[in-house]
Symmetry: C2
Subunit: 246 residues, 2 copies
């Protein structure tokens, strides 16, 4: 059975070696920085990674209840006969104190992982699809640029319609909301000013749009085109149909 001093030594050594540390414990937590927070006694998982990022997880929920960003310094001390993990990030002016009542288990070890995740089906993939297949927007639409992130905002697809009118397309992977419409409006207005023209078309390309957003869109003379993002659920549906056959 390890005592408090053993745990303090274990943890501080593991930190020095940049190991990945997992502590299951009963603790309370105080955070101060961009906001202030307090969390009373309970069982949690405390994880410290090789880059000195720290996360505290309660037994339910996807997100950490408390965390510190990478490059935080951590130090385990004994204070008032309890283990106290002091985490300090001077650069971000954040600090956290975890007072540990009891350790359920402790593990630390070097993890090696050089791989990066590859994701597809993002909004950018959707813009690519429309650029490659402009007829999905409407007949005669010709894209002139894609992911124009510099001059007039971050326009997903910019093009010219069959009548030669400049057209801005804003893509959304999901249901377009009010924010999407105001975003589109901003791009259209900027383009009108910078090009010195009085009419620019605006199109929202998304699988669907909320009623309020559609009303605002129509009020401003913009249009909506229903487009599904590429690869969306494709793999799942393939798998499902295979399961169904079985």
């Amino acid at each position: 059975m390890l005592d408090q001093k053993d745990y303090a030594t274990l943890l501080n050594d593991a930190l020095r070696r940049n190991e990945t540390i997992v502590i299951s414990c009963n603790c309370n937590i105080r955070y101060s920085g961009r906001a202030e927070s307090l969390l009373k006694d309970g069982d949690r998982l405390v994880i410290i990674k090789a880059d000195n990022a720290l996360m505290v997880h309660q037994p339910t929920g996807n997100n950490p209840v408390n965390y510190m960003k990478p490059n935080t310094s951590h130090n385990m001390v004994i204070e008032n006969e309890k283990l106290l993990l002091k985490s300090r990030n001077l650069a971000l002016k954040e600090n956290m104190d975890i007072t540990i009542n009891r350790i359920h288990f402790f593990n630390s070890q070097k993890l090696i992982d050089g791989k990066s995740i590859v994701i597809s089906g993002t909004e950018s993939d959707m813009a690519n699809m429309l650029y490659e297949n402009p007829e999905m927007i409407e007949k005669g639409f010709k894209p002139v640029s894609q992911e124009e992130q510099t001059k007039y905002g971050f326009i997903d697809v910019l093009g010219v319609d069959s009548s030669g009118m400049l057209t801005v397309i804003e893509c959304k992977r999901y249901c377009a909301d009010l924010g999407a419409v105001t975003q589109l409006r901003r791009y259209v207005e900027r383009l009108m000013v910078s090009k010195g023209i009085t009419k620019v078309r605006g199109i929202i390309a998304a699988p669907k749009i909320t009623p309020n957003a559609f009303k605002m869109l129509s009020d401003w003379g913009y249009t909506f085109v229903s487009i599904k993002p590429p690869k969306y659920l494709e793999d799942f549906n393939k798998k499902q149909s295979r399961l169904d056959n079985f």
Copy 2:
């Protein structure tokens, strides 16, 4: 030394008991759902919580590289002589397969935590502060409602200035950006329509504002007031001064 079948049994039993499970392993991951993702072999921490949420953490970074939401079903099987954790969420049409090459360590146990975190220093706290101390906006400003979430959008603070003009205040905890200005503009326009009046003032209350956002704000005749969110860094500064004294 446990073999694959032992681990499969261990995990499936732990899942049945709704324990919190931590697996350190070398694995690769395939996800399909709202997007598609692929992550090749590497060392990671896999966590499954009592509510059947799952997270996969690489050895660096705050965020999980892959995850499944609560209420996902998990099942460990042996396939092609390897451990395979199949996670399925039929309701969300998401699935994940984690192929495990080697388990470094495994732990599971019941965690008990009934406490909720208490946070202060949020945007809502900022709105409260302005409601209680309207002179922080300007002399003669009188708030009439706070967090008006129903009638005209989600206005942080609504009030009347010294000349009796209706005024919308949009709070931001940090630097206000273009999105904050378009948000404010939406509220002002909605109010003008719904109240049938031609002039409504708009104010952004934030510690600072980006140049572009300030230009757009001015162009639209709105104003900026520099306000810091309450309690921001207060506790840290207190601590720091104590440390400095020491």
